[in-house]
């Protein structure tokens, strides 16, 4: 636990920010989709923490608590983004990439592909898959973050993996059918 008894709650939250901000920004970006401003989402997560310092500082796992807020912020922002796009307010500007620039080409392609597949999953399945497989949270912390039983975490993860694999295979098939084939036919 980052908070110390001799520091103010705000300072304790700031230390959590220093400790988890980078990881949380990547996590919330994966949850919400990289078309949304990850920095803005991260700030919202810690704004909540600043408004409820006692909640986060007394939680068994402040990191799980922050991830729980991140999940809610991401879900809310995804819905809001839909409304904003409907009214033409979706601002696609220069967004900071939450992933390290040192990633390899293979990692970058994999990240893009994962994001495509995650977008097809339901919110509940996407959440457990991102938190466990991508962010590396243990099942207990995911259960705390989502406020669900541990068994439910494993059940959702089981089905999320299954759906993810199926969706990935489906996308592969679609790409195989569309990549290059039409051109070959035209020239043939």
């Amino acid at each position: 636990m980052a908070a110390a008894s001799d520091v103010s709650p705000a300072e304790a939250v700031r230390r959590l920010y220093v400790e988890h901000a980078a990881e949380l920004r990547l996590g919330v970006a994966r949850l919400a989709g990289k078309h949304l401003d990850a920095d803005d989402l991260l700030q919202e997560v810690f704004m909540v923490a600043l408004r409820k310092p006692q909640d986060v500082l007394t939680a068994d796992s402040p990191k799980a608590w922050l991830y729980g807020v991140a999940v809610k912020v991401a879900a809310s922002r995804r819905r809001t983004a839909t409304v904003r796009r409907f009214f033409g307010f979706d601002e696609v500007g220069e967004l900071a990439d939450p992933e390290a620039p040192s990633r390899t080409m293979e990692q970058r392609d994999a990240s893009k592909r994962v994001e495509q597949v995650l977008a097809k999953l339901s919110d509940k399945k996407r959440e457990v898959l991102v938190l466990h497989e991508l962010q590396g949270l243990p099942g207990e912390e995911i259960a705390a973050a989502l406020q669900i039983p541990l068994k439910t975490v494993w059940t959702r993860l089981f089905h999320a993996r299954k759906d993810f694999a199926a969706e990935l295979a489906r996308l592969d098939v679609i790409e195989a059918r569309t990549s290059g084939l039409p051109q070959e036919r035209r020239h043939g």
Binding site: A10, R14, Y17, V18, A21, A22, E23, R25, L26, D39, L42, Q43, F46, M47, L50, R51, T80, V83, R84, F87, F89, A96, D97, P98, E99, A100, P101, S102, R103, E106, Q107, R108, A110, S111, R113, V114, V117, L129, E133, L134, Q135, G136, G139, K151, W154, T155, L157, F158, R161, K162, F164, A165, A166, L168, A169
Partner: protein, 302 residues
């Protein structure tokens, strides 16, 4: 379900490929965060953020929705004007119409010449008449309200009672009281006057001008004869004259009863009531006084 095995241990091809892809993406380290952004978080948390454009968009869409609903909702149909009933009053009728549309008929005759879908309420001193799509005639006299329905149905309400009068029917309200049979019985003790005379009425009139018992008998018989001839007014006049000339005559109980019965039949209840009270006073020992009292009580309720 217990904890799942690591995804990378998946044996099926699709699962293994998915697990490898996700593991590759998961291995990407996060980009470093500008820690000075913490000040921005502190500043933003001090004031809740509202996107004015979204609020405006919501308000605009709400207004547009309301406008759409209003535009597409069926317009309330303007009620078709209903032709009011056409009322025709006799020249002697006294009637008024209130702001609530209720027609009050105090006396005389009023008829509805054209049936209307509009409800007509007619109030008389004796009853309230309600009609829709009906033609009828109402006449108010001292004795009551007469209702003659020509078309449709008319409802008459009075004294907590309701009567429905259909086309072709006539109702007089208040209904005439039942006249006890002993009061209608013709007395046998009256001496025969002018029996067997061809011009009996003239004979009786001549005899009536006389005096004594013969004149009393002639006046009584004259009234009976006039009534039987349909001349009710002349009959009543003969009996009234008899009472006036011979208030304590031998036949005054018979004359009083004849007057009482005929006035009741003619629905001249107030006059009949006065005659009944006179009989009870003047003929207290008469065996028919109980019947007169019963009739008087009936008359008092009208």
């Amino acid at each position: 379900m217990d904890e799942l095995r690591a995804w990378t241990e998946a044996t099926d091809e699709a699962g293994a490929r998915a697990a490898k892809l996700v593991a590759t993406a998961a291995a990407i380290p996060p980009a470093p965060v500008d820690l000075t952004a913490w000040d921005v978080v502190v500043a933003r948390s001090a004031a809740p953020r509202h996107d004015g454009r979204l609020v405006f968009a919501f308000a605009a869409s709400l207004a547009a929705g309301i406008a759409l609903v209003v535009a597409l909702s069926p317009k309330p149909t303007t009620p078709t004007a209903v032709d009011p009933p056409v009322l025709v009053a006799s020249s002697s009728a006294r009637w008024t119409q209130g702001a609530d549309g209720v027609v009050s008929l105090a006396a005389g005759r009023l008829s509805v010449e054209r049936a209307s879908a509009a409800k007509l309420t007619l109030a008389t001193p004796h009853a309230t008449i309600e009609a829709t799509r009906a033609r009828f005639l109402a006449e108010v006299t001292a004795g009551g309200t007469t209702l003659v329905v020509e078309e449709g149905e008319v409802v008459l309400r009075a004294q907590g009672q309701t009567r429905t009068v259909k086309a072709g029917q006539t109702l007089v309200w208040p209904e005439a009281p039942n006249i006890p049979a002993p009061l209608e019985a013709r007395p046998t003790a009256v001496a025969a006057v002018c029996e067997g005379v061809g011009a009996r009425l003239d004979c009786l009139k001549l005899e009536a001008k006389g005096d004594g018992l013969a004149a009393q008998a002639a006046l009584y018989e004259l009234g009976v004869a006039e009534r039987e001839s349909g001349h009710v007014a002349d009959a009543l006049a003969a009996w009234t004259t008899s009472l006036s000339r011979f208030p304590d005559g031998v036949l005054h109980p018979e004359v009083r009863l004849a007057l009482l019965v005929e006035l009741t039949r003619q629905r001249r209840f107030a006059e009949a009531l006065a005659v009944a009270r006179g009989f009870e006073t003047a003929c207290a020992a008469d065996p028919r006084v109980a019947d007169v009292q019963a009739l008087r009580r009936s008359l008092e309720g009208r």
